[in-house]
Subunit: 471 residues, 2 copies
């Protein structure tokens, strides 16, 4: 729908592309405008599978707000679609290029402008890498919680675009919770400031949160005020083995119902445990049907782990092993962090789903995924941010086998359908992008979809901002 | 602007009002439609000073979603403005009636539909009183943090409309942090569901947060999914006296910079302390220039209070008194809770401001307020959610004295101007309503204002939803 409102991409028209590049160079230094097709092609994709991508007409790498404004003014004048990008670690195709577009990479706007320990805020440009910020604030005794798996590479701008989560969310919430205010370049190049740098503020509609998770479809974030927390004590991890996934999910429910606040509560199913062992020979217990990792970053984590260990045993854990120290904790977490890489190695290709259900339905979700894996004769490994009910069912398949690929795609969709049936969402933290846009309507319904499209129209009347994503 | 798009109110036209009431009665029981002018007049105002209010044509008290839909369909058909109301405890005039409007009181939709300790959510209708919900979830070992001063009266729907804060915010954040999903009746009567009941979710734009704090100007919230937390231990309070407001603000900065996470960090200035003593003879130290209250609801609150007490002494506290138990803590909090009532008693009338600044600028804010009080020859008492930088400068004046009233109004505005100069916001938690709508543009700028108006237009093309508020 949105695509139809844009003039057809004119990348076949050299004169038009020349005009576009010429105009961009009026306000950007030459080194910030990339046109070599081999180079621009390398900006076509994020990390999602099964998501089509087009060939960009040009890639721009602005370093200032004014340069971004120039890019957007040019795009508006010429009606050229703009695809904003961070580190392209996304998993939904939201950063994939469309044919003839301007890829607007924010990676060169990577300055941390301020870290304020009294106000507990950081002010950053969008290209700052998550881990860079996390380490920088750590030096001030502060903590920026959001920690997507890609935290060593992904940018804050990308995190804001997709409202990223991570392992920390069960205690600390997602990126959205940490964005206080934004500077945004609108589609027509005007600069808008949203939100605040104060702890509280209710002046007008919350446009800040509207932009978080909007996948670059409403405007270009060029500056963000982020909330920080005091650095918590180092977390201590416990591992619990279960003879069934249902028992592990029961333990999760008991832990949360018991009022515990773990800093991490992760689940790896049998398939994932085996894949990690195969890849990294970590000596995880292959007889386990589900491995639960719980952590606490409290003042007395050993006491918290003891309480949670007892709940795991009550739920039928066959073994409960608390880590003695930070080093042992780190080893256990490494296994979890390797999960997706390990599952990728199983069959060469994976589709990572991101269905989040109410945590009371986690057991039903895992049981349903096992049924779907059987039905489609596929290997589907599940690792989950279990405390959030956020599962990452990962379909392992051979992309060179068309039938297996078809089954993979079908099982992926069926998993989303199951998530909705259980009162969940098609995406807990990875976003809609290209991958799930057909599913968005099913989740939010026709009225919601109509209002969302109307909001899009307000901020992007020409439909040039990341067209073909989300809707 | 919005008003001009509505047909002139026709309350002088008995036939038109008769038509309106008749149509409302087609879908509402007789007892849910109030037309006696004496009765409807009692619904004209919330608790704000200096905010004009009109005479409602009719007050409706629906009990079901379908009834709310009928009201909105009727309002759309007849182009009649609708003013949604909760308990009318607001302080910005956002719930004030306009002439000829339908007052849509949600107070009869007051059912708690679900409390789920595993998912840590509650599902409620908008008319549930904050304290009722807090107590109900408490019985399940859960905690709903938002605690505006009016918590014994105010409704969850009203809290959502104004994105209310309270004493808890320094640790637990504001209402917005606890709203996961909404059912909303749109201006034309259609029902829209936003958000989720899962811990995480990023499917589409965050319309939930757009509605939080929108003061009934985008739609009618008829159901909310709220996040809950485990009930923390009882908090323990410490009182610290300072010989200057600057020293107290310095203590606040040291506490927050030191990485402490108090569950409450409140400041009362000399004027407020004196007013509370005058009203309730609480024996607070009248020699103090500023009284700071800090609390912790941790597992070892005494240790936390000791650390914070030491920081207060380092900042120059003349006396530091930690409470020994919950009863002593409660006494100290009572003094804080009485502040506004006590300041009201000083001169008969008050204007309560709600300026929030970065907490590092709290000292500058208090100093500036003192300067403004002197300039306008007024008594301005300040109590503040100091940990948030959220001040409530309260102008005490005699409303029967036109000159003093004028000076009160001018000082009120000057305080907002000072807040903006210090990088703050004109409203930390009370909202814009009628009281501050002329100031909104100053805070968010012309581009932001234009986009906010355009968003309003999407949800309320006829301008019937709480017209004349916010913008």
């Amino acid at each position: 729908m949105i695509m139809s409102r844009i003039e057809a991409p004119r990348d076949e028209d050299t004169a038009a592309t020349g005009d576009l590049v010429g105009r961009l160079l009026d306000g950007l230094p030459a080194e910030a405008v990339l046109t070599d097709p081999d180079v621009t092609a390398s900006y076509a994709n994020d990390m999602a599978s099964f998501c089509p991508a087009g060939a960009p007409a040009v890639v721009v790498l602005p370093r200032t707000v004014e340069e971004v404004q120039h890019v957007m003014r040019t795009a508006t004048a010429l009606r050229v679609p703009v695809v904003p990008q961070g580190a392209r670690t996304g998993l939904s195709g939201a950063a994939n290029a469309s044919d003839g577009c301007i890829v607007l990479s924010l990676t060169k706007m990577d300055r941390i402008l301020e870290i304020n320990p009294v106000d507990r805020v950081a002010v950053v440009e969008p290209g700052v890498v998550n881990a860079t910020l996390s380490r920088a604030v750590g030096e001030h005794g502060l903590y920026y919680p959001p920690d997507p798996s890609s935290w060593e590479m992904c940018t804050i701008g990308g995190n804001i675009g997709t409202a990223s989560g991570g392992l920390c969310c069960v205690k600390y919430g997602v990126t959205a919770e940490y964005v206080l205010g934004l500077d945004v370049v609108l589609a027509d190049g005007r600069l808008m400031t949203t939100g605040r740098r104060t702890a509280k503020g209710v002046a007008g509609y919350d446009l800040t949160r509207l932009f978080v998770g909007s996948e670059g479809s409403l405007g270009i974030v060029v500056r963000a005020v982020l909330a920080l927390r005091p650095k918590p004590p180092e977390q201590l991890v416990l591992a619990a083995e279960f003879s069934s996934a249902a028992a592990a999910c029961d333990a999760v429910c008991r832990i949360m119902e018991g009022g515990h606040v773990p800093s991490l509560l992760e689940l790896m199913d049998r398939t994932t445990v085996k894949a990690v062992n195969d890849l990294a020979h970590m000596g995880l217990p292959e007889t386990t049907e589900a491995l639960l990792l719980a952590a606490f970053d409290t003042t007395d984590p050993a006491a918290d782990l003891a309480a949670v260990g007892a709940l795991c045993e009550a739920a039928g854990a066959t073994q409960v092993v608390p880590a003695d120290d930070a080093a042992e904790s780190e080893l256990l977490l490494q296994a979890r962090r390797l999960s997706l890489t390990a599952l990728e190695a199983v069959k060469g290709t994976t589709m990572i789903d991101d269905v989040c259900v109410p945590r009371s339905r986690l057991g039903d979700m895992l049981e349903g995924i096992e049924r779907i894996a059987e039905k489609y004769r596929l290997t589907i490994g599940v690792c989950a941010h279990a405390g959030d009910g956020n599962t990452h069912p990962t379909v392992c398949f051979d992309a060179s086998d068309p039938d297996e690929s078809r089954r993979a795609r079908e099982s992926f969709d069926e998993i989303m359908g199951l998530g909705l049936e259980l009162g969940g969402t098609i995406t807990g933290e990875h976003g809609v992008g290209v991958l799930k846009k057909e599913w968005l309507a099913r989740e939010i319904g026709p009225v919601g979809l109509e209002m969302q499209r109307a909001v899009k129209q307000v901020f992007d009347p020409l439909g040039i901002l990341n067209p073909g994503k989300l809707f």
